[in-house]
């Protein structure tokens, strides 16, 4: 049985539509990440699951119950907020116990359950303190403890790590992943950080302008982006795009951009002669061509080199467009050197120039 089902869900504020006819089903024990640029409606969708926003149309059910008109407290969800949202006037103990008190859980049991949760999250020394006396990471841990203690059907995380510094963020990300492994509660996690999405998610729901662009496992979304937006949004450094015209050359297909012609077998794609398309290739998929190689080469003069540590990002111009290649630092060319990069056809992506949809055969 699916833990969460959204069918034809709409959300609008007056005339402004935020979520449009959204359909999604989330399986039990699944870790689903809503990913998208700011303003794509991902947080709104999460808040609709939590019951903090009304649903303008459609139906949301959690654990088989339609929750459209249920109060947040009756939905069996627990939420972790971006700014922690701890109760500033209560001790950490009371913060964690507040939800249980509402459920009239006996005092002894509250003490025992808070103890168990605080031990798991390493909060034992802080139970008597107020939230303001804790660091950001500790506060976030309290927020997670407050969510955990209710043993909810669904965990909702609203950009929980974006207020933490980079190092702590990595640490907490690992902690959340561990927590999910041990608790195995259905989790919906909102973020705009693709690294978080890639590392945590069982499935990523990529949203733009209130619509789902693609749903899939991180590998699927990275390797088989369904359209230009997904291809451009996922992956750092960003995918290179080159406008091409499709042509035919005997058995092979040609992709022509100004002076450059790429010849491919095109088996993986649905191609039509004369069609305009966008060729996509990820910077790490570009490899330095051997001096004798010819055909399917991207050539130019390196005009910017960014050192990343193990790798370096080489940027050059091809037909007026910037192309980047991620190469091992030790094989990094000098600035203003002539560079030649080849690619394997299997790493190629092709999109329809008009609709932006992938031309890959399903």
């Amino acid at each position: 049985m699916s833990a969460i089902v959204c069918s034809h869900v709409d959300k609008s504020y007056g005339a402004t539509s935020v979520i449009r006819d959204l359909n999604l089903s989330i399986e039990e024990h699944e870790f689903v990440v809503f990913l998208g640029p700011s303003g794509c409606g991902k947080s709104t969708l999460l808040r609709m699951l939590a019951g903090l926003e009304d649903i303008s149309g459609g139906e949301i059910s959690i654990g088989g119950t339609v929750v459209n008109d249920l109060d947040p407290g009756d939905r069996g969800v627990a939420m972790v907020f971006q700014n922690y949202a701890l109760y500033p006037h209560m001790t950490i103990f009371d913060n964690i116990a507040f939800g249980l008190k509402r459920q009239n859980v006996p005092k002894a049991e509250i003490r025992q359950r808070v103890g168990a949760v605080s031990t798991t999250l390493g909060l034992d020394p802080y139970l008597d303190r107020k939230p303001a006396e804790l660091s950001g990471g500790q506060q976030q841990r309290v927020a997670i403890a407050r969510a955990m203690i209710k043993t909810p059907k669904v965990f909702l995380f609203d950009e929980p790590l974006s207020n933490l510094d980079a190092k702590l963020r990595n640490h907490m990300r690992v902690e959340i992943a561990r927590l999910h492994q041990s608790l195995n509660t259905t989790t919906v996690y909102v973020t705009h950080d693709q690294l978080e999405a890639m590392t945590l998610a069982d499935r990523i729901v990529l949203l733009r302008d209130g619509r789902i662009e693609q749903i899939g496992s991180p590998a699927e979304i990275y390797e088989r982006p369904g359209n230009l937006f997904v291809a451009g949004f996922i992956g750092t450094p960003n995918m290179n795009f080159i406008d091409v015209t499709i042509g035919r050359d005997g058995d092979a297909w040609t992709l022509t951009n100004a002076g450059t012609v790429f010849t491919i077998s095109g088996e993986r794609f649905r191609l039509q002669q004369g069609e305009r398309a966008v060729l996509g290739i990820r910077p790490p998929d570009l490899v330095a061509a051997s001096p004798g190689a010819s055909g399917n080469l991207l050539e130019g003069t390196a005009d910017l080199i960014e050192f990343h540590g193990n790798d370096a990002l080489v940027t050059f111009c091809l037909g007026g467009k910037e192309i980047s290649a991620l190469v091992p630092s030790r094989a990094c060319p000098a600035i203003r050197a002539d560079v030649r990069y080849g690619f394997d056809e299997s790493s190629l992506h092709l999109f329809d120039a008009q609709s932006g949809m992938s031309l890959r055969r399903q």
């Binding site: 903090l52 006037h89 001790t91």
Partner: protein
């Protein structure tokens, strides 16, 4: 940029602060001293700091029925009005802050507009109304009138205080299973308590010191302390300075006590636990 502080600058800053403090505190101290002096010690060319203190002024003040009645009227009228202001004003402010509708802006403006009219403009119609109703010169009329003031002041100051409570904190309580009323009681009120207490104290001081409306609405029975105190100076040519000062001291004690109790309460609530 933080500029390094020179010794001279710091000294000058402290001097300015000390001067400002002196300006604020000295008149109060002098009034308190004068309340303990005989009239001859007050009306001297050279101000006297050393004198034989007397309690005559204070005992005279406390011995007069009019003063005690005034004190009683003031305490009851202001106390009840502040209570009404708290009971009605705080929930109203919370509703405007958290559940704004299209009238919210107008409500806030209307509440503020009660404060920009000159008090006389309000006092005369009010006097007519209370005369018609037959409640002129009663505590009830004063309480209702003062409640208008306390509700408006408390609302005006409490709306931003409630808005400053992070919305997510209240939402977290909703997710924890609490309803709107519990969230108001258990989250919004305690989190905003510090600013709310300031609003309540301010409204108390405002009605306690109120003079003109009290003057218009009372003739004998419902006179408040400021009216009674002002009447003490109208006893012929010889102004009884000592008595006047003593009445001022009496007048300023309740607000000071009120603020003292309030700030003590706040300190105890917000004292950080030392571990």
């Amino acid at each position: 940029m933080r500029r390094p502080r020179t010794g001279v600058g710091r000294l000058l800053g402290k001097a300015v602060l000390a001067f400002a403090g002196f300006m604020a505190v000295f008149p109060l101290l002098w009034t308190a001293l004068n309340s303990l002096k005989n009239n001859v010690d007050i009306i001297t060319r050279v101000p006297r700091v050393v004198f034989t203190p007397t309690l005559a002024n204070i005992s005279y003040i406390l011995g007069r029925d009019s003063v005690l009645t005034g004190l009683y009227n003031s305490v009851v009228a202001c106390g009840v009005a502040v209570l009404v202001g708290v009971v009605l004003g705080l929930p109203a402010a919370y509703a405007v802050a958290r559940y704004p509708n299209r009238w919210a802006g107008d409500i806030q403006f209307f509440v503020l507009s009660l404060r920009f009219l000159p008090p006389v403009a309000v006092a005369i119609p009010l006097m007519v109304i209370w005369l018609q109703v037959g409640l002129y010169d009663t505590l009830a009329a004063l309480i209702v009138t003062y409640s208008l003031l306390t509700i408006s002041v408390i609302m005006w100051l409490a709306i931003p205080a409630f808005q400053a409570v992070p919305k997510e904190v209240e939402e977290a309580a909703f997710v924890d299973g609490y309803g709107a009323y519990s969230v108001f009681w258990r989250i919004a009120l305690p989190v905003a308590a510090r600013s709310l207490a300031g609003a309540v104290a301010f409204s108390f001081v405002l009605v306690w010191n109120e003079f003109l409306i009290a003057l218009m609405l009372s003739s004998s029975n419902a006179k408040t302390l400021p009216i009674v105190a002002s009447e003490l100076s109208q006893q012929g040519m010889n102004v009884p300075w000592g008595i006047l000062n003593a009445s001022v001291v009496l007048l300023s004690l309740p607000p000071l006590l009120f603020l003292g109790v309030l700030s003590g309460f706040l300190n105890s609530v917000f004292r950080q636990k030392k571990t």
